[in-house]
Amino acid sequence: MAKIRKIMCCCGSGLGSSMMVQLNTNEALKKLGVTDCVAEHTSLSEVNVNSADLFVVGKDIYPQLKNYPRVLVLDKIMSKKELLEKLQAAFEMEGDEFHIGV
């Protein structure tokens, strides 16, 4: 199991989609029964590779984070179902580097 204690949801401005994905991530973590992980949101200009264990982005933003070790890419940014499935896959990953959804 991948150790994921902090998830950073990232979008262009750090205001809109990243906040919605953060809300949806918190909901998904509850559904998955994960209690030792927090989700936050930020902008592309502030994001830092050391600021989280997993980065969640929409596919438009992915090119900006393609060199990050652990990235979860959403095709439909508003889809709670897609997020839940991909988060579950992330927690089941072995190893320190993986990109999900690309």
Binding site: S13, G14, L15, G16, M19, M20, L23, G58, Q64, M78
Partner: protein, 151 residues
């Protein structure tokens, strides 16, 4: 409170806009008229769109038009909404947008209730369809209000 973020005056139904730049103009202009931001905010949105693409088109039909703004250009956190009868294209792929939600945020958290409402409406295809079928500004406004405490 959702009513601090959106007002009936900020909701409109329009026939069409000619391109994505006019779509940005329409949604930001509603915020400017409400005193939430200055006209420069429109330039900020255009700039971020040209740099990163229209990443704020969040579903097939909805764009959450916004940029990060500093205190000089954003005075107040607010939402606007323009529903288009004819879709507009933001890119080749994102070509069927009918809901233009304008957002300007004075800090990183005050618009949370608005994001809850948007997520509740546009994260569900039935709710989104109801929104697309709205025929009055009142209807649009009431949908935002009723979805704000959905989570």
């Amino acid at each position: 409170m959702i009513k601090d973020l959106i007002s009936l005056e900020n909701c409109v139904i329009l026939d069409s806009v000619k391109d994505w730049k006019e779509a940005v103009h329409v949604s930001v202009d509603l915020l400017v008229k409400a005193g939430a931001c200055t006209e420069e905010y429109e330039d900020a949105v255009i700039k971020v769109t040209e740099e990163y693409g229209p990443y704020y088109v969040l579903t097939d039909h909805m764009a959450l038009i916004h940029a990060s703004g500093n205190d000089d250009i954003v005075h107040k956190t607010m939402l606007s909404c323009a529903l288009l009868k004819e879709p507009v294209a933001f890119s080749e792929e994102k070509n069927d947008v009918r809901v233009l939600i304008g957002l300007c945020a004075a800090d990183s958290t005050a618009h949370m209730t608005g994001m809850v409402a948007i997520s509740s409406i546009f994260g569900d295809s039935d709710n989104e369809q109801k929104f697309l079928e709205a025929t009055s500004a009142e209807e649009i406004y009431n949908l935002f209000i009723s979805h704000a405490d959905a989570q």
